[in-house]
Amino acid sequence: MTLPITSDRPGMAALLPDMQAPITPLLALDGFSVAFPGANGPVPVVRGIDLRLAPGEALGIVGESGCGKSVTWLAALRLLGRGVATSGEVRLAGKDITRLPEHALARVRGGRIGLIFQDPTSSLNPVQRIGTQLMEVLRLHRGLRGDAAQREALRLLDRVGIADAPRRLRQYPHEFSGGMNQRVMIALALAGEPEVLIADEPTTALDATIQAQILDLIRDIRRESGMGLVLISHDIGVVADLCDRVAVMYAGRVVETAATQDLLGRPRHPYTRGLLSALPSLDGPRRRLTPIAGTVPAPDRMPPGCAFAPRCSLATEACRSETPPLVLAAQDQRAACLRLAETALAPAAREPVPVGAFA
């Protein structure tokens, strides 16, 4: 399956929903919100998210723990149980899947939308052979049985770089290393021939050299199949490595979204700037890190106005009362900040400080 992506800015149309979009987004969240039950009524954890994924696009979602980056996608696929309230739309190729009955949504999960999580070992069934698990997916989503399923299972294991596939199919997850199990998870996700893969911290539990292997594999598969990707990660480096476009989340909202190079090169939201200057680097002069003051607010104690205002050096009175909408900050770049005029002028986030400043 090849998808017609020729522009090097595949996300452009998706970023300008008020313009006539030439292609329907593959996956779109519209005003999507999630609330968890709390002692004093529902606690909103995702507060109105609009996101578009163009066919074949790779979108990275970054943010710190508790920002809602994983919850958004788990809730969108109704994987969080009954107590969780959601509102807004999740459209897959134009069709809202939040209204689908459970049996129909179950066909979408693992079918048109593949999923992989952080800890492969706990996602796999420990008492079933790898082959049994793969062939179950092939039967459910592709209707393959017997020899056909076996052949396809072998092909998938081979595709994800697992050597000696016939023997491996008969083995159990505990006989595989963490990196190998993540390859199996990718094979399971690919078994349904998904149009989009949602990967939630797929390499966080893996060692550095194994992480490089898995990122390389995902990149390869995407190049081959044209599959869309939503990559959720706390590591901006991982996202920058794989994604065309990045959305930064803070306290349940998207605060900035742009093409990867633009977001890294000229971030406009003060939180994005803060995140980038808090990161140590392997290159360039060694400089003292610039941390973001304070901590992330708890979901049940969200400050009024912009949730980042209490930690923001640019915040004014207006920031503490008005919730900023996600608006165009530059071509192909949106940010939810009332002080965008100031962040256009302020110096770049990654300003080197000489090593002498350490003493």
Binding site: E64, D216, I236, G237, L264, L275, P280, S281, D283, R288
Partner: protein, 330 residues
């Protein structure tokens, strides 16, 4: 000048039984030597199972070594928990990854900071102890009103600050930090990284800093040692190691770090997983995954030797400093 901490040919083996019931030896740490000067930071990096945490526990005398020698400020460190051991342990403290596991959930954090003084019978008088604890509370950047709080009432970053204050109250000369910021979010990790640097500037203790995160190690270390399967494979200043790695494993490790500047560095993808330490490959342990291995690597184990630019590397392919140059450097 004698180094603060000196480790010579340190090894720790564990007897294990394989699936088929055979008795084998797992070489967790296998001939590690290094020294750490007072007030300096040695970063120990490597992937899971390379022996970096075991090395730290051996150095602190928390675990008996199978062989080798550890000297702290000129005195031998043993794992026999006698008076001598306790006196030494007062001068070397450990900070690890999970602050919640390191703290007692039923005790206010202030009391936990005071506790080491009680254990070692220092600083008589409740008032004096509390005074000292509050001073450290301030030094690690915690508000005094948090003193009476319980660990679950604090954030992850605040808890790690409490752990640091507790480690510092005895005035240690060495702080062993085992992945101290790995569990923290980006913005908080930066706060704690800066704090570690500030505390070293203020109190002058040495750090043995263990991490899988090369970027954090580069930020904080004066010298870095890279471990693979229980051995140090390369050691030198961070800029040399990370910008011009000599050992092929260091090179792969550095190239595997995802950076914001996409495509600035060629990525080396190693094949396979690190081997099981029970089945350590013959010759150089890295040769089955090494893209540059030659016949000699399969037979002969390379030793850690000075290279022409002064760092240490254990690789047959890295040019060794000539004896004269090595003597001049020493």
């Amino acid at each position: 000048m004698t180094p603060l901490l000196r480790v010579d040919d340190l090894a720790r083996h564990y007897p294990v039984a394989t699936a088929s019931g055979q008795k084998r030896l797992l070489h967790a740490v296998d001939g590690v030597s290094f020294s750490l000067a007072a007030g300096k930071t040695l970063g120990l990096v490597g992937e899971s199972g390379c022996g970096k945490s075991t090395t730290a526990r051996l150095a602190l005398g928390l675990l008996p070594a199978t062989s080798g020698r550890i000297t702290f400020a000129g005195e031998a460190v043993s794992a026999t928990r006698d008076r001598h051991w306790r006196a030494l342990r007062r001068r070397m403290q450990l900070v690890h990854q999970d602050p919640l596991a390191a703290l007692d959930r039923r005790l206010p954090v202030g009391e936990q900071i005071v506790e080491p003084l009680l254990i070692h019978g220092l600083e008589a008088g409740i008032g004096a102890r509390r005074q000292k604890a509050l001073q450290l509370f301030e030094a690690v950047g915690l508000r005094p009103d948090l003193f009476e709080r319980y660990p679950h009432e604090l954030s992850g970053g605040q808890r790690q600050r409490v752990v640091l204050a507790r480690a510092l109250i005895l005035g240690p000369e060495l702080l062993v930090c085992d992945e101290p910021i790995s569990a923290l979010d980006v913005s908080v990790a930066a706060q704690v990284t800066n704090l570690l640097q500030d505390l070293q500037g203020r109190f002058g203790m040495a750090y043995l800093f263990i991490s899988h995160d090369l970027k954090v190690v580069r930020q904080i270390a004066d010298e870095v040692a890279v471990m693979y399967l229980g051995k140090i494979v390369e050691q030198g200043p961070p800029e040399a190691l990370f910008h011009a790695p000599a050992h092929p494993y260091t090179e792969a490790l550095v190239s595997a770090v995802p950076t914001l500047q996409r495509g600035t560095r060629e990525r080396i993808i190693l094949r396979g997983d690190p081997p099981n330490p029970v089945d350590r490959p013959a010759g150089c342990a890295f040769h089955p995954r090494c893209p540059r291995a030659i016949a000699r690597c399969r037979e002969e184990t390379p030793t850690l030797r000075p290279t022409s630019d002064g760092r240490l590397a254990a690789c047959h392919l890295v040019p060794v400093a000539s004896d004269a140059a090595a003597a001049a450097a020493a």
